[in-house]
Subunit: 233 residues, 2 copies
């Protein structure tokens, strides 16, 4: 029998924030596809799932070159990845791709999914807790309420785009705040959204860091997995 | 020993989408606070959590009058609710408030949390899977990717505000699409975002409904728990 391909969200860090559905899937996995990239997301996801994995699970590392307009320009490396995954499924193995947070939310899994969605295989995608939700609960910080609008913005987007999205919303989640933490802090201050901001790095993971007064922390070096929650004054 | 107050996200519908942390908390609950409102969210959350609840769990119904500027104008009804909750905790009972989806994301729990956060009690808030995440996985629909901006917008907000937020983003989640489904569909069509939209009502619950061609379904009566995912063309 052909195996099933799983895309599994493991949440932001705490292994107790996996869902029952994610755990039941992880327990069935024979082969994990792990991205071989400089960003360590994949290995973080693996460490979160570890308590639930089969002892003899096989790990296959694949290179996922990120190119703009990926869907139209699928490269040879991606085609090679697809071939390898299909062969594993054909051999009756259950194959999974783990995602930190949620698999359909700013994840490499989206590209893996697109690569496979038109093949004649069974794909099960299992949602996960996004980091911003875990941070809201951890900090007692309402993410958004009533009829308010929430913008979710990667701080790695062009600065004008980030600022425009921030101004259009009542509440804001800024993700991947690391390279340009100082610029983002200045932008929030300019829009009267710095004082009430909270920043959490690596929520639920080793070396978790909480910053409540971001303006006092300018110049600090932050981890890639850093998220700011804020709102209009 | 004084009890603990829990705010627990139970996810959008499927009891397998509860986290391990949520289940462990639900198993400890002696008293559930349930909102007595015309919207049936509370009782839906209760039905999702049911498999994990103590058989003899006590349910206390409270009225939560929603008023603008709640924090400044806490009414007598809310003060009465607070008194009742504090007495239960004082009697050593673990008390919980269940939330459909995530407790810090468009939830009545936010107001309950504010009512209690400055009291001398232990509060544990446990995140849940938001409906939009479950819908992305269910439909194989990427919610947002790369450096794109996501707007999350309640369709119940003023129409100009909704349209402005939609125009400011690459990807959009529209929540509570029911009363004004036709107007929302026209607005999305006007902004070239109707064709690629998907709508899911009651994801993972009885009477789940999936609509892929929203323009063909105008005039239909939708459940309160209806969400649209869409993106720029």
């Amino acid at each position: 029998m052909r195996g099933i391909f799983y895309g599994i969200g493991v949440g932001p860090g705490d292994p107790e924030l996996l869902t029952v559905k994610a755990i039941r899937a992880i327990e069935k996995v024979d082969v994990l596809i792990a991205p071989k990239t400089e960003k360590k997301d994949g290995s973080v996801a693996l460490s979160i799932a570890k308590p639930y994995l089969k002892d003899d699970v096989e790990i296959v590392y694949q290179v996922f070159p990120m190119v703009k307009g990926f869907a139209e320009n699928s490269t040879e490396a991606w085609e090679q990845n697809k071939k390898e995954i299909l062969e594993l499924l054909e051999a009756g193995k259950n194959v999974a791709f783990l995602t930190l947070g949620d698999p359909m939310f700013y994840s490499t899994y989206i590209y893996v999914y697109r690569l496979l969605e038109h093949e004649d295989i069974e794909i099960q995608t299992i949602p996960g807790i996004p980091a911003f939700a875990a941070i809201g609960s951890l900090m007692g910080y309402p993410i958004v309420e009533g009829d308010d609008v929430l913008s979710i913005v990667p701080a790695t987007a062009p600065p004008e785009k980030v600022e425009k999205a921030v101004q259009a919303a009542d509440n804001v989640v800024l993700m991947k705040v690391y390279k340009n933490f100082d610029e983002v802090t200045d932008m929030l201050a300019r829009n009267d959204m710095a004082k009430q901001a909270v920043l959490v790095s690596r929520a639920g993971l080793p070396n978790e860091k909480i910053i409540r007064d971001i303006e006092e922390h300018k110049g600090e070096k932050l981890n890639y997995l850093s998220t700011i929650l804020t709102r209009k004054n």
